[in-house]
Amino acid sequence: MASSPETVIKPDFGQARKHFIFTDEHEQLRESIRSFVIKELRPHAEEWEETTFPDWVFQRMGELGFLGLDKPEEYGGQGGDYYTSLVLAEEIGHARCGGLAMGVAVQTDMAMPPILLLGTEEQKQQWAAPAIRGEKILCLGITEPDAGSDVSGIKTRAVRDGDEWVINGSKTYITNGHRADVIVLVTKTDPDAGYDGFTLFLVPMDSPGVIREKRLEKLGMHASDTALLAFQDVRVPDGAVLGQVGKGFYHIMWELQGERLIGAAGCVAGAQLCFDQTLQYAKERTAFGRAIGTFQVTRHKFAEMATKIESARQMTYTTAWRVQNGEYPVREISMAKLHAARVACEVADECIQIHGGAGYMKEYGVERVWRDMRLNRIGAGTDEVMLEVIGRSYGL
């Protein structure tokens, strides 16, 4: 924007400016997702925190085309660019239900991309197309009770037996694990081959030997179902291999990049919503005869938060721009994920503090944001794993 005598005198604090990566079409999409989320999802948020969100959310979002925004049209997707999935990740935050946003993200940005990138035509038709329609629910199985950050330490074994594979092992912290129709499963197929000994499988969740164990209780994300799963002599045909045998580790490392960047977008949006709500509160709540937001310390807290959110947003959008332009920017994605997750947790914590006693109460909803956001420094790779990836990228 060129300066003029007028703009120099009166700075522009407008909220409506859109970022350069977004077009008018993105903004229309944003509007329509937001209005759907606020009208059809948000009214149930409280209830779903108790019960987990119902499967019809997938069907409804499928009908509306929201589960395949950036997916190819030949499988029922909308054929949009990468930014459209960013728009979804941001706007679904208006449900005020972190567990719901996570369940949907597992479908659209975690389990589905590997099927579309690596799958055979048959696999795409069998799983991706109905998932885009919201008729099938997907989950992704990486973490095990004894292997979290250390993905290479997983023990779930797939052993070839004729033209079948036999799978044994267990997976934990599996989002959508109880409701899913199929799991993208990371297994070890050759224990002696190091990083070249992993293979992905598409395992139908109704296969004999797939046991859905307990529903895990968590600090936050209560609306999502998180499962501990066991696989006991589960037999799948050769056609269930996803991608190349022995290349599963690299496949899943690729998958994690998309998951992390979309997670960063969710963090930025969640932090912004929490900021907005708290700003409103600070303008209305009075103490010592004035609105609490007008105390200098509180004003500076907002200034700090806004600056942090803006930095995380710019990192996320710029990295998304690289992705959209065909780069594979692992370092920048890791930085965006690390920074956005920290910012979201810091903002939620500060918002609790600004609310005082009210912030500690369920009624105001800030404590739920705080609990939900805390997962982002652990899930999809902990802060420490992000720091490892970034550090090693410099040859250290």
């Binding site: 979290g148 950050s149 934990t172």
Partner: protein, 380 residues
């Protein structure tokens, strides 16, 4: 083992027996009580049975005739229950509801309220905060109108620990309509149909029955006026020092426990072919946390020593409260992070510890209020 001042060997003996009792009788139930959103009243009686409910009260009321340091030992060890809400409920009775009666009450009021409280038969709460008056205590609006033989109280209190179970509530009321610090008085309000409580759902402290309390034409007899009429602000200020010391001590106890557990986890859990503690970043983080525990302990013990010696160490107590509550939460958050995915699960103790610790920078005066007080004390 050498003792750390201001504690003596006698205090350490008490510490050992209190800790043993808490670990045996209370801690095993913490999980259940958190789920229930309530710890049983029986817990008060159990503590009373050990002589722990009246450590610093006179023997003629059934107390142990000890001093602030004996009470401080228990305040620190109560963290070993492993349930912030349980420690808070027991503490609200011992540390904030009954001390104003002991300190400002008439002999007759002490006779009536202290013995059953020390036996754990009647439970107390302190009621100051209101929906429209939290940090800004002076703006409270619950009214007490003078009537024949006493007062009639109307208004609403919130965030009252023990608010549902309390048999009596030491309540701050406005007795003069003009605003400000003067015109606030304290009444001991016995539970009746005119005192209606409703529990609040919270981020943490789930075992505590934190509640809103509505007073609807509640009659309070003249003889339940605690301290001087219109001079209640003094009483609030007097008790704040002890309450904040107790919070600092509780944080120190909770931090120690959390560090011990997390260090044990880090020695056992293996990733990338070695124990977590074998990774330099984790090892250094645990070292920083141990240093934080030690720092908090030193700052708190110094404030406690001064307080017990009869100084009025407002600066030291306020600093201890400020530094320990933030440090305790940060330690819990770091411990949660060290646990990784497990840290996010209810199955492990650490997510609860983090939720419970988050109250610290809010309750008993927010961090911001602590800084305001210190600004004043430091002549700024």
């Amino acid at each position: 083992m050498a003792t750390t001042p201001p504690f003596t060997e006698e205090h350490e003996a008490l510490r050992e027996s209190a800790r043993g009792f808490i670990e045996r009788e209370l801690a095993p139930h913490a999980e259940q009580w958190e789920r229930d959103g309530w710890f049983p009243n029986d817990a008060f009686a159990k503590l009373a049975g050990q002589g722990l409910l009246g450590l610093k009260y006179a023997e003629r009321y059934g107390g142990q005739g000890g001093d602030d340091l004996h009470a401080a030992v228990l305040a620190e060890e109560l963290a070993r229950v492993g349930s912030g809400g349980t420690a808070a409920g027991l503490g609200a009775h011992m540390w904030i509801a009954t001390p104003p009666i002991d300190r400002f009450g008439t002999d007759e009021q002490k006779e009536r309220y202290l013995p059953p409280a020390i036996r754990g038969e009647r439970i107390g709460a302190l009621a100051i905060t209101e929906p429209g008056a939290g940090s800004d205590v002076a703006s409270l609006t619950t009214r007490a109108e003078r009537v024949d033989g006493g007062f009639v109280v109307n208004g609403e209190k919130t965030y009252i620990t023990n608010g549902v179970r309390a048999d009596f509530l030491v309540t701050a009321v406005r007795t003069r309509p003009e605003g400000g610090h003067h015109g606030i008085s304290f009444l001991i309000v016995d539970r009746s149909d005119a005192v209606v409580s409703a529990p609040l759902a919270k981020l943490g402290w789930h075992a505590s029955d934190t509640a809103t309390v509505a007073y609807q034409d509640a009659f309070v007899p003249e003889e339940n006026l605690l301290g001087d009429l219109d001079e209640g602000f003094k009483l609030i200020m007097a008790n704040f020092q002890w309450e904040r010391l107790v919070m600092a001590l509780g944080a120190v106890g909770a931090m120690r426990l959390a560090w011990e557990r997390t260090a044990a986890f880090a020695r056992e859990r293996r990733t990338f072919g070695r124990p977590l503690a074998g990774h330099q970043v984790i090892r250094h983080r645990l070292v920083d946390l141990a240093t934080s525990v030690h720092t908090c302990r030193c700052v708190t013990y110094d404030a406690l020593r001064r307080y017990a010696a009869g100084e009025e160490p407002v600066a030291e107590v306020t600093m201890a409260k400020l530094v320990t509550q933030r440090a305790s939460f940060e330690l819990m958050d770091a411990c949660l992070q060290v646990h990784g995915g497990a840290g996010y699960m209810r199955e492990y103790w650490v997510e609860r510890a983090a939720r419970d610790a988050r109250l610290g920078p809010i309750g008993g005066g927010t961090d911001e209020i602590m800084r305001e007080i210190l600004g004043g004390v430091l002549g700024l």
